[in-house]
Subunit: 243 residues, 2 copies
DNA sequence: CGATCGCTTGATCGCTATCAAATCGTGTGG
DNA sequence: CCACACGATTTGATAGCGATCAAGCGATCG
């Protein structure tokens, strides 16, 4: 697949993202080295390794995770189109978490060592990067609140609503639902639950008739009810920067 | 108490922070509007409210939290001297979390609406802000990993080691221990445990003789053993930016 | 067609929550 | 100085949510 020009970026075209100036766009185009494609289950970043690369997820879903020596794994957050990957690395470039593709993904690849040019020449983009970082932290905060304080059912309801809204906000799916590439193990790892209990809770929640989840497709029938059940009221999603 | 000049900042003097140029220091000095002092339990930021202010915690401890409508509260992370407060607010300035002082705190206060001057004129400081944001996310990641995957005892051991190391890294305490202003309710809220269970686990952990915790003072006797118990191996703390 | 992976279900265990109450230290007012 | 209130800590008893163990089912794939 050949690389698309940033000016013709289908993601940027589809709205929900902030505007950039022509000069900024030109810089981004130059900053981006190439595009890259990976399949489901492939590693974008490996836990504990160094990477001199940064990415923007242009298409597809992925997730960020950390694990313990004995194999327990915690999914920290899910990455959807427009999300930026790799900021958390310390200067050394070593990332304490892994990032793995959930679906086929399309990545824009940037060289970390030219990040400085961005800060020096394009304060607007620099600001955007900080914003993206702070925004991702906000999502992790929300997960932590859920995992620390909510019951299993509440957590699941929250996750479904959360991902549904985010997917819709980047233009995926429609009234009939969105693609939903997580399996139950992913849900369990994201919510700090066992696989078995996740299955049982999911089943019990399904019996309420507030959502449909089948064949990789998620449909939310009663958003309000689900949100009430989870005590989860997401802030409205604003236009966000895209680099 | 009169304001200190940034050039004479006792925090910056004490090492562990990255260097800034004279020009940057001068900007920070101008950017900072005033200092402010709050007592334990006082709110630095109120959950859900808007704030046009940003802060650097110059002295004292605080914590960031979110709560659910029914009162359950999750502490997201603890703030120690040098930490920057308020980045997570969306452009509107609305913060989804609260920040509360644990000890008497001394804050440097910055006007959010001049943040743009920093990005335009001082790319190095802009970079630092992104770094601080990403670094805080890293800490929240770690908490999420713990709350999602670790047992009660492991979580407590982790928290003690984590806070001890951070406190030491900003120059607090000595071999004989550090001040430790959390009560058991704070620990419970940070780790997603009930107060009663926190107490019992703390007690059981204390019986192992790996630490001493009394009268607001924490002493770690066997760091290695505690870390092994928690499966927690913190990355070495690097020099960090201070704004 | 056997193998593998993800989903489902039942039985049992145990960690942690919840309920209840006692203890202790501290500050306050009589 | 004592009585009292209040917050933080501690302890015991009981309940329950979610983990763990074990097994079966269904679909996809080489």
């Amino acid at each position: 697949m050949s690389d698309t020009s940033c000016a013709a970026c289908p993601l940027r075209a589809q709205g929900g993202f902030t505007q950039v100036s022509d000069a900024e766009l030109a810089f981004i185009e130059k900053f981006r080295r190439r595009e890259s494609t990976l399949g489901p289950g492939e590693a974008i970043l490996r836990e504990g390794e160094s990477s001199s690369l940064l990415f923007t997820l242009r298409a597809g879903w992925a997730f960020r995770f950390r694990s313990l020596p004995d194999g327990r794994r915690q999914i920290l957050n899910f990455l959807l189109p427009g999300d930026f990957i790799g900021l958390q690395a310390e200067l050394s470039g070593q990332v304490p978490h892994g990032v793995e593709a959930l679906t086929p993904v399309r990545l824009c690849v940037f060289p970390r060592d030219e990040l400085w040019d961005l800060y020096r020449g394009f304060p607007g983009l620099a600001y955007d990067l900080t914003w993206l970082s702070a925004h991702e932290e906000l999502i992790v905060d929300e997960n932590l609140l859920g995992v620390g304080q909510r019951s299993a059912m509440e957590r699941i309801a929250m996750l479904l609503v959360h991902l549904y809204k985010r997917a819709r906000s980047v233009g995926e799916g429609d009234e009939s639902g969105v693609n939903f590439p997580l399996n139950q193990q992913h849900i369990a790892d994201a919510l700090g639950l066992s696989l078995v209990h996740t299955n049982k809770s999911l089943r019990r929640l399904h019996a309420y008739g507030l959502h449909e989840l089948s064949a990789n497709r998620l449909r939310i029938l009663k958003v309000e009810a689900l949100q009430r059940l989870a005590d989860y009221y997401a802030l409205p999603l604003r236009a966000r920067p895209l680099i």
